[in-house]
């Protein structure tokens, strides 16, 4: 076959069906370990602090993006955050249509560099940026020390 003589019937061509075996364990790292153990055992969320830049990182990390210092201090993330961006997904992770759309949000916290991407536990019509939210955690028994120990973020109920 040349450039001048191209076949367009795909069925005439041989192909080989292949897959790539690719299974991993991903270590959480020093800062990740601190976060996930505190989340699992105490239901707390931690940020790592850069004392030089006066920055608290969420997710916590052991190095500062700005000054490259090693970070060893940890502080609590405020309980209440704010929805900074929101989207409603109508397909699942494989691209298949969802019968019930999922709401996703990027949640930020006062004084914290970063935030968390997670489920927003509201109906799609109620999904909007600016909502005040708190993490809803799985029960202590169900927590294993991963990001899905958080079920998602839900609006803060008014106490009045």
């Amino acid at each position: 076959m040349t450039f001048l003589d191209r076949t367009t019937d795909a069925r005439k061509f041989r192909h080989w069906e292949g897959d790539v075996e690719a299974d991993y364990i991903y270590t959480s790292g020093v800062a990740g370990e601190r976060f996930f153990v505190a989340l699992r055992d105490e239901g707390r969320m931690l940020a790592s602090r850069c004392t030089a830049c006066k920055l608290d990182y969420l997710p916590p990390r052991m190095f500062c993006e700005d000054c490259f210092a090693e970070l060893t201090e940890y502080v609590d993330v405020p309980r209440t955050g704010r929805v900074a961006a929101v989207t409603v997904a109508h397909v699942d992770r494989t691209g298949a249509k969802l019968s019930h759309p999922q709401v996703w949000a990027f949640v930020t916290f006062e004084g914290i560099r970063g935030g968390l991407l997670h489920r927003l536990l509201v109906a799609p019509k109620q999904a909007r940026a600016g909502l005040s939210v708190q993490a809803r955690l799985k029960s202590r028994d169900g927590r294993t020390g991963t990001i899905v120990d958080i079920e998602g973020f839900e609006p803060v109920r008014s106490r009045f």
């Binding site: 989207t87 997904a89 990001i147």
Partner: protein, 383 residues
Amino acid sequence: MRVGIIGIGMTAFRPSTPEYNWKELMFEAASRAYADAAINPREDVDSFITCAEDYYEGFGIFDEFVPDQLGAALRPTCTVSGDGLQGLANAYMQIQTGLIDVAVVEAHSKASDVVTLDGIIEHALDPIWNKPLGAHPFVVAGLEADAYLRGTRTSPKALAAVVAKNRRNGLRNPLAAYGAAVDADQAMQSEERFAPIRALDISNPADGCVVLVLASDRAAKKLHADPVWIRGIGWASDSPSLETRDWTAATYARIAADMAYRLAKVRRPATDIDFAEVDDRFSYKELQHLESLGLAKKGEAGTRVLRGDYDADGRFPVNVSGGSLGCGNVFEATGLHRAGEVALQLRGDAGVRQLDGVRVGVAQSWRFVPSATGAVAVLGAGP
């Protein structure tokens, strides 16, 4: 030393390419580029650079699979794990060293070979903090689109205008896979996917290959070429962490543009540049990128696209090629295609979509979801 593009080779962009394997796709684009430059790769080229990501290819150590189909066997080759425009920057620098006179840059997509494309893209999400949540990777684009539209008070109608413009532009590009007479209402009414992103706001995958031949001014003269000059080039990466990056502006594009403009001595991009080819793999990205490149003020790109400023016959044509919405998402070949398109326009070789009197154009790339990496090249017509 000046560095110019002396050869352009592109295959058509198509939803699938059953008759060629990926090596043959590269062979076709390379053959076209070498014919365009009137060179023999076995004698005239000093260095070959390919741009690829193993996961998109489906096998490991892609650079080992390169040389034969480019005429590069037993010659200096290397692979940049990034967009083709980043490969172009590397070739530019190699020639600037004075050690290399002629360099070839290649990038391609054989996306139709990938059975689980969503899964491959999902692999780019952070495996500890993001991927376990189980969201489709385009959720990242949905969140960014929401932040961009609200942060700049841009109307969703502007996204539909981008879709209609680029799909229609694709009709005038014989290489485009997805040219179509789509109007803004159709785009606004297409299925919701990752609100505010709808089905037609997302570019569809395509196969294709782009090869460019670069030469120093001295080598270009020796080869009797009439180059399109790379006046400036730059690249940058924002924090890879979704949590700490800028969600409203494409900061990577602004920094890459600053670098390219500095080299090209472009002080007022909005007036010094005649037209642009920018990454539009989601419709909002075109508007966000134009603002980050200094080609529109913050929040103005949306009103300008609605006014028709970015049409092929508008005040500042954007993505006359059809962009990725019209041509298809060719993954790592996306930026190199745009550089090739800008070069074709500056040579006066853009066929029915040729723009009148253009002297300086800009090509911009982004490395797709969930990256925050981009590159910018400023190209100029000779002499």
